[in-house]
Structure formats: structure tokens, C-alpha cells
């Protein structure tokens, strides 16, 4: 028969790798760029401050990573770590959700506040973390930011807030909405004291955070490609019954529409902040003195 001329594919014995060997492959050794799909070694990614060396895509940073990249080594002193989330609305499953996130991230809430220095110049910082219920703002976030701003006023220091947030936290209802007014109140005192406030918007900065402290800075900076807006893309598309262009609500788009001062690459952020800080002196003296 003809088919006898073409022998069947040879069979080989297959040997599965030893289970212990399989376990030794480290987690998260590689990452895929969400924008250009390039495979990146984690080490390489870290070297580029978690931005893609091929397309410049900025990966989301945790608050501790952001602080480490922004302030001088060993200069950060954290404020108000003892504030804890409450459940004023008795909202179904809210506290269980919070506990889970705390366990998974080691954070206490969606913002870390504290004092640090950038090239020796002292600042008060608030850094949000998207891993904590989308960086949403509830009572604790509002309180921590307000206390940090009040300390900046008392100590005559500039205020820096790195935003990343889906907006106000639904599970705390009206009290979340009121945090927008609360942080605004604190910032209004900082403003009246003639102090500098720099708002840095990272991906994404939306909803109640955009409609309050993110847009109340003397200077607004944003990371490339960050989504910055008030209403969510889906909500707008449903309202106008049209697809929105890809660049809608990006940092570059809001720069073009006059809402922010500069789009700054993560690698240049620390130097940019340092320069801006050095250009703001009070009473002829440098902040660092």
C-alpha cells in the first residue's frame, strides 16, 4: 500500500519536568507591555522605572514604588498610618472587601501621606494607590490628605499629590462626595498661605478626584498616556451614542485643551519636580533652609 511508504510519526517517550523544578520558575520574571505587547524582563522594566523601553508605555506604580522613585533615599516619613476604614452605610460586603485588599497589598488605605525631600528640598506628599479599590476616595483618603495638607500649612511646605483614582468611593455614599469639599477646604488654606501645590495626575485620574484636588494645583503635571477626565468613557459614549477617539481624555489631549501644564515622562519627573520646587521660594529663602 502507498501509505506504507509514509511511516507514521515516530512516537517519543515524554518526560514531565520534576514538579519541584517547575516551581522554581520565579513569578513575574517577564511582563508583557499592555500597549505594544513586547515581552519585557522585569529587571529591564525596573531599570526603565516601569516604563516600556520600546513604546514608552507607563505601567501602573504602587504608592511605595512611586515614593521610592520620587523622594531622596531614607527621607520619607509616613503620616497617619493608624486611620482605618469604617462602614457608615453598612454597605453589603464593604469591610470584607477592604480587609481582603489590606491583606493582599499591605496598604492601610488608598493613599499614603508623609514628609520627604526631593534633592534636599522638603515637601509633604500624598500618593494614591490604584490597588486599593481603584484608588477611590472615602473618608480615610479625605482625612489623610486633609491632615497632610494642614501639616504642610503649619510647616510652610509645598504639597505634592500623585493622583490615581476612579473617583469617590461609592460604598461610603454621600460621605465620599463630601471628602471632595473637605480636601478642597484644606487646600484653600494652603493656597491662602501662599504655598506651592503641585498636582501630578497618573493613569487613571477620574471622577471626584479630577473634580477636586487633582485640578486645584498651582501646577498640573501628568504622566504620558494617563487617562484624565471627569466622566467615564463608557458613560460618555452611552450619552452621546458615539464611539470616542482613542486619544480622548489622555494626558496629551487634556494638555492640548489647556487643563494641565506639562506631560512629563516618569524618568524626568523627579528632576522636573526639583526644578519647579527650586523656582518657588518664599520670602527670598529656599525651602530647603
Amino acid at each position: 500500500m502507498l501509505k506504507d511508504l509514509f511511516p507514521k510519526k515516530k512516537r517519543y517517550a515524554t518526560i514531565a519536568p520534576h514538579p519541584s523544578a517547575r516551581d522554581k520558575v520565579p513569578e513575574g520574571l517577564m511582563n508583557k507591555c499592555k500597549n505594544c505587547s513586547e515581552i519585557l524582563l522585569s529587571k529591564e522594566l525596573d531599570k526603565h522605572m516601569k516604563t516600556c523601553p520600546h513604546c514608552g508605555y507607563h505601567f501602573t506604580l504602587s504608592a511605595p514604588e512611586r515614593i521610592a522613585m520620587t523622594v531622596d533615599e531614607d527621607s520619607f516619613e509616613e503620616f497617619d498610618t493608624e486611620l482605618k476604614t469604617a462602614d457608615p452605610l453598612s454597605f453589603p460586603d464593604y469591610l470584607q472587601k477592604v480587609e481582603k485588599v489590606i491583606e493582599a497589598t499591605g496598604l492601610t488605605e488608598a493613599v499614603i501621606t508623609g514628609r520627604g525631600a526631593i534633592h534636599g528640598k522638603p515637601v509633604v506628599l500624598g500618593v494614591m494607590d490604584a490597588r486599593f479599590i481603584m484608588g477611590s476616595m472615602g473618608s480615610v483618603v479625605g482625612e489623610k490628605l486633609s491632615r497632610a495638607i494642614e501639616r504642610a500649612v503649619a510647616e510652610n511646605l509645598p504639597m505634592l499629590i500623585f493622583s490615581v483614582s476612579g473617583g469617590a468611593r461609592m460604598q461610603e455614599g454621600i460621605l465620599s462626595l463630601m471628602q471632595m469639599a473637605k480636601v478642597s477646604a484644606a487646600l484653600s488654606r494652603h493656597q491662602s498661605a501662599g504655598l506651592l501645590y503641585i498636582s501630578i495626575m497618573t493613569n487613571p485620574t477620574t471622577g471626584g478626584v479630577t473634580a477636586s484636588f487633582a485640578m486645584q494645583g498651582d501646577i498640573h503635571l501628568a504622566e504620558p498616556g494617563a487617562i484624565i477626565g471627569f466622566a467615564g468613557r463608557r458613560v460618555i459614549e452611552q450619552t452621546i451614542r458615539q464611539k470616542l477617539p482613542d486619544e480622548f481624555q489622555t494626558a496629551e489631549f487634556v494638555l492640548q485643551h489647556g487643563m494641565i501644564d506639562r506631560v512629563v515622562h516618569r524618568k524626568d519627573m523627579r528632576a522636573t519636580l526639583s526644578t519647579i520646587l527650586s523656582l518657588h521660594t518664599k520670602g527670598g529663602e529656599d525651602f530647603g533652609d
Binding site: 482605618k84 476604614t85 469604617a86 457608615p88 469617590a168 454621600i174 471632595m180 478642597s184 484636588f213 458613560v235
Partner: protein, 325 residues
Amino acid sequence: MAIDLPFEKPLVELRVKIDELKRFTEEKGIDMSEEVATLEAKATALAQAIYRDLTPWQKVQIARHPDRPTTLDYARGLCDDFVELHGDRQFRDDPAVVGGIARFGGMAITIVGTQKGKDTKENIYRNFGMAHPEGYRKARRLMKQAEKFGRPILTFIDTAGAYPGTGAEERGQGEAIAHNLIDMVGLRVPIVCIVTGEGGSGGALGLGVGDRILMLEHAWYSVIAPESAAAILWKDATQGQRAADSMCITAQDLYRFGVVDEVLPEPFGGAQRAPQEMIHTVKSAVASAFEHLCCMPVDELLQKRYEKFRNMGVFYEGNDSSLQD
């Protein structure tokens, strides 16, 4: 012709029956007054039962009723010489926000508020009371003007939210609201805010920072409209009722949280059933609020306004398990 709400249906049907009987009495000359009286007593009891224990979702429906007094109705009903002023001086005049100057009890004041329409045509013109950034900027311009001339400010809030559209985003909806918040904290004149119907999220708060926050009995005020909350939480916008029930959005809830200072009673069945009576209630509440605030030194006023918002929120501190608020 009054518009009836779904939960009012049994009452409406009963009223129709009563009218039929009355007509029958007139036309045929048969005395049915006893039956009519019985039914009327039944209708009164039914109305009591319906309106005494309104659910949050029923209140949301009342708060959206098109026959409720609007900001312009209050402005004209509360004040003399209301002069409407227009425009943000930057882009255009937003019809979803109205404002102007007027005389309230002999005192010149500034009024701003979101404005809904009475019918479909006007609602399209008013964008259903959903403001664009220029609306918030117009309000800010008028409030800054009030500060310059030492006029107290009265704001009316009745909006489902700030408009989520392309132009609104391009012109900085977030920035416009944010700017109002920070400026209203520092305005050196008394501010009284009234939530008259819907208090939808940042769009409501953009006119809602003041010294006294009043709210009508059946109004709602929340971080997000119930339907939108349902769309996010359960991916189903038709579950608005469930969201309304779990999010503490009624005037009574907000009073309990200390977010509003006073709940103003509405006429039986809601403000839409007796607009003049509602306007009268609002008038006397605003009068006593201004009476109290206008004699306060400005620095004390600002300090109290600061503390009012600074103290909002509920959380635990340290090992202490007692709530801070």
C-alpha cells in the same frame, strides 16, 4: 394636568371612581353622597398610608417630578426685583445654570442654581438641568461678584449630575467643579445651599459648599445617581431601586450623617402638589438662615465653614474602635 407616579396608581383610581359617582349624582339626581363620603374617607386613609412611609426609590421619583418648583420659581417666589444675569464671559451662557441678583427681605442677594425645564422642549433647552463647565464658571463669576459687593449667596441644587459629554470634558468639567469647591470655601459672604430635588454627585456639590445646607423632605443627594450606581455595582441600570435603598440618599439619612443642617417639610404628597406652599416654607427657612449668618463676623463664618466640611467623614483611629465623625 398633573403627572402621577406609579406608586400613586391605587389612589388615582380611587379618585376617578369618586368623580364618577359625583357625576352620576348630578346627572341622574340620585343621592350617592353617602357612598362618596365613604370612598373619600378611604382615599384619605390610602393617601396617608402611601405618603407616610415613602421608600427611598419613591422619594427619587417624587424628587424628579416635573411639576416641582424650579430655581427660577424659587428666585421669583422668594425675592423681589429678580434680575437674571447670563454668561461665563469665556465660552457661552449655559441654560442649565441660572443666576442673578434680587432683593430678599430688603437685602440684596445673589442667587445661582441648576435649572430644569417644565416640559420636553424646555428640558432640551436646559439640557435636563445637567450643566456644562461654562455653567459652573457662570456660577463662580456670579458668586465672586456677590463677594465683591458683600451680597449673601443662595444656591439651589436640582440636577441629576454634571453633563457627561465630549464638549464638557474638552472644556474641563472636572476643573470647573474643582475650582468652585476651592473658591466657595473661601468666599467672604454667607452662603446658603438648598437641595430642592436631585443632588447628583459632583455636579450638585459644585454649587453645594456653604454655611447652611438645607434639603427638602423628599429630595435625594448622593455620590452617584442610583441608576449609575446599579450599573457599576451589578452591571444593571434597572436596579436603581436596590441602589437607592442601600446608599442612604434621602434627606433624613443625610441629616443623620450631619451633611445637611435642616430638612424642610414638603406639602402633603410632595412639593409638586402645592408649589406655593413649598416656596413659602423655603422662604422662611432661608430668612432664618440668613438672619443667623449675616450677623456673624466674616472670620468666624469662614472658620465655621471650614470646620463644617473638615469634620465630614467617618473612620476609626488607632486601636480606638469608636467612630470619628
